[in-house]
């Protein structure tokens, strides 16, 4: 089933087309949700809510960009909205306390490939993690992040700087990232 057929089917509320769309994008989108969520279960809840929004708003997709990008945008916003419901999140995203955070080496999972990196990201405090996800992975600007998270732009910058520093430390400890004299290299494992 082509993407065009899937889109037409989803517009017609056909279950088969909706299922095809879900099958095609849900694994990657759950990966996105997992980076924001506290647990796998929370991530699945976010995914479910996000896909319901996707199906209900699919008529708004104009075909300007990639369908995956459009779905991803909805999923990310769903994740952020979910996080915002938690009061602790707004506190954590506002605070700058990177210096006090200690990463226990035992907490770093010894998994391979992308999962290892994602699990390292998940070790970051929630506020850091969210800003890092939005800036480095989703490609939002600090200005956009400040709007989305309702924080100062400067806060977003400092959160990101500290998040990145912390993540580098974790990756180096896990020997995913090598720090030569002049530059640091990240090595991905063999696929």
């Amino acid at each position: 089933m082509t993407e065009e057929m899937i889109l037409q089917g989803c517009l017609g509320n056909l279950a088969a087309a909706q299922e095809a769309l879900y099958s095609q994008f849900s694994p990657r989108m759950l990966g996105v949700c997992y980076r924001y969520a506290k647990s796998r279960e929370d991530a699945e809840d976010m995914l479910q809510e996000g896909f319901i929004k996707v199906y209900s708003q699919i008529h708004q997709f104009k075909g300007d960009g990639a369908l995956e990008g459009w779905i991803r945008k909805i999923i990310v916003h769903t994740c952020i909205n979910n996080l915002k419901k938690n009061k602790k999140f707004s506190d954590s995203v506002d605070l700058v306390h990177a210096s006090g955070i200690q990463i226990n080496d035992n907490n770093i999972p010894s998994l391979l490939q992308a999962k290892q990196v994602v699990e390292c990201i998940r070790l970051l405090p929630l506020g850091y993690r969210t800003v890092l996800n939005l800036y480095a992975i989703e490609g939002y600007s600090h200005k956009e992040i400040s709007t989305i998270l309702e924080i100062e732009e400067s806060t977003s910058r400092s959160q990101y700087t500290r998040a990145r520093g912390l993540l580098e430390d974790i990756l180096i400890k896990k020997k995913i990232l090598q720090k030569p004299k002049e530059n640091v290299r990240m090595i991905s494992m063999t696929n």
Binding site: Q18, S23, P27, A114, A136, R185, S188, N191
Partner: protein, 557 residues
């Protein structure tokens, strides 16, 4: 593949790694989405279930409601004139305590009873009709304020029950007690096979006439409107009745009454009771207790001043046409496969080819042990035919032999049921179709709840043993299931809950041998269950039909 990048590419590197990360969502996510998007699709199954449930309840109620032609009203008439009440079943004649005998013309093809109790001395004769059920109560003597009942003998279908105990009351004071023996037939009147017979004994104080002679209309109304005669069932407990009869003082009777009146279907007014204590006991002379009714009896007052009807409470009678069987069946479960598979395209541009899969045992699967349990209700439509319905819970499963793999992609070719267009669906799987050192057994199972409806035909039988042939069909609701489906290239197995049907249709067929032991009736026989619709939805082109065969073991009362 190994990639290196500078620190300056940190964001890009992070993005690349994060984007590669995927997770397979669990089944509940899609189920939640689907239910949210298509809430209406639940309604057909729920509606069908509700309709079936209402139908069952209605049938049950109709069958349990006594029909006017089949049940005699319970009660007693006191009149100067001889009251004749017509019913189709019994012919009873009573003479109580010196009162003039009145004959109740109740015709019956089956029973004809006469019970006479004299004030001085009397005989109770229960003359058998042509129903092969004889009840003789001999020498029930009432002398003064005492009642003697001797040598009660009940003969029933070749079985003889004897009670040679002399039953005697002695009442103190003015209270005289008369007894009236009545036969109470349980169940269907015309049922010659009935082996249940109840005898009701009504104990009425003699001062009832003084009470009635007061011509107090209020009392009379109270008397009439009260549930004067209550039918208390001393189920399967003749000794309780005998001990009651052996008491010397009606105070004990009162106490007994107090202890059991809570069991009455409708409470008796204590006020009325204080004036006119009366008890009706029904005790079972056979092995089984059935519905309990008191037949009409006519009592003609000697004084003849009063006229009125005392109506007793009708008790609901169990319908003998209905039988509940509770069963359990160990079954061997397996499956058959039908339909055409769709071959996956060699590349994206090649046409889709439909071909007949040469052998379904591209899958290697083994039968497993399952079970079935439930309750089955039969309703006798005629001597030979019975309507069958009930509730059924079925668990069937079978093992698919697979081998563990590193995660890989597998493809299922599906066919849109609306457009007929074939399309592919990809899965990540760990299971290959083959046998190796990493062999693993995958269990495909189904837990279904069904409401079967069908017919049962008696092939042969006598009173003790019957051989029936039963066949039912019914909608089933899949409560839980899991299935590993072979991929279109037959190299892998994938699991996809969204392909599974929630509602299905199951058929059951098999002979049943029924026989009676001392306490219960056994129903044993082989059975075959066949799932009529495919386990999978229509857009999966291969149809799987589950088959269970086993032995059904059931009991009923």
């Amino acid at each position: 593949m190994e990639r290196r990048f500078d620190m300056s590419d940190f964001e890009q590197s992070l993005k690349d790694h994060a984007d590669q990360f995927i997770l397979i969502p669990s089944k509940r996510v899609w189920n939640g989405i689907y239910n949210n998007l298509h809430p209406g699709s639940k309604w057909p199954s729920i509606t069908v279930a509700i309709v079936l449930l209402i139908t069952l309840i209605t049938i049950g109620n109709i069958n349990n409601t006594p029909k006017p032609g089949q049940t005699a009203t319970s009660g007693m008439a006191i009149s100067k004139n001889v009251p004749n009440s017509k019913a189709t079943n019994n012919k009873d004649s009573y003479s109580l305590n010196g009162m003039t005998s009145s004959e109740n013309d109740i015709t019956s093809n089956n029973t004809k009873h006469q019970i006479n109790v004299d004030n001085g001395s009397g005989e109770n004769n229960l003359v058998p009709g042509n129903n092969e059920k004889d009840i003789n109560a001999n020498e029930n003597r009432v002398s003064g304020n005492s009642v003697n009942a001797k040598n009660k003998m009940v003969t029933r279908q070749g079985e003889t029950f004897k009670n040679n105990k002399s039953i005697e009351y002695t009442n103190s004071g003015d209270k005289n007690i008369s007894t009236s023996l009545k036969e109470n037939k349980g169940g269907r009147i015309n049922d010659k096979n009935s082996d249940q017979k109840n005898v009701s004994i009504i104990i009425i104080p003699n001062n009832i006439q003084e009470y009635l002679n007061l011509e107090n209309s209020n009392r009379m109304n109270d008397f009439n409107s009260s549930l004067f005669l209550q039918n208390i069932i001393a189920n399967n407990n003749p000794s309780e009745f005998e001990s009651l009869l052996n008491t010397d003082d009606d105070v004990i009777l009162k106490e007994t009454y107090n202890s059991i009146k809570n069991d009455l279907a409708v409470p008796v007014s204590n006020e009325i009771f204080s004036f006119v204590p009366a008890w009706t006991y029904s005790f079972n002379l056979g092995r089984n207790v059935s519905g309990n009714q008191i037949n009409n009896g006519g009592v003609n007052s000697e004084n003849g001043n009063q006229s009125g009807n005392i109506k007793a409470h009708n008790h609901k009678k169990k319908n003998k046409n209905i039988e509940w069987v509770y069963y359990v069946s160990p079954v061997i479960s397996t499956a058959t496969f039908r339909g055409k598979g769709i071959a996956p395209p060699p590349n994206n541009y090649s046409p889709i080819v439909i071909y007949q899969i040469p052998s379904y045992n591209g899958m290697i699967y083994h039968a497993k042990l399952g079970f079935e349990t439930g309750a089955r209700m039969t309703y006798a439509l005629s001597k030979k035919w019975k309507l069958v319905t009930g509730v059924n819970l079925n668990y069937s499963d079978y093992n698919v032999i697979s081998n563990l793999l590193h995660p890989t992609f597998a493809t299922l070719m599906l066919k849109s049921s609306s457009t007929g267009i074939a399309y592919s669906k990809s899965y990540i799987t760990y299971y290959g179709n083959g046998q190796s050192l990493n062999q693993v057994a995958l269990t495909n199972y189904n837990l279904q709840f069904s409401i079967p409806v069908g017919l049962e035909y008696q092939i042969w039988g006598n009173k003790k043993v019957q051989i029936n042939l039963a066949s039912t069909i019914g909608p089933s609701l899949v409560l839980k299931s899991d299935a590993h489906i072979i991929s279109s290239d037959k190299r892998y197995y994938v699991s996809d809950p969204t392909l599974m049907r929630k509602m299905n249709l199951s058929g059951n067929f098999g002979p049943i041998i029924s026989f009676r032991s001392r306490k219960v009736k056994w129903h044993i026989g082989p059975e075959l269950n066949y799932q009529l619709l495919s386990t999978y939805k229509n857009y999966y082109p291969i149809r799987e039909h589950l088959i269970d065969y086993g032995i059904r073991i059931g009991i009923s009362k």
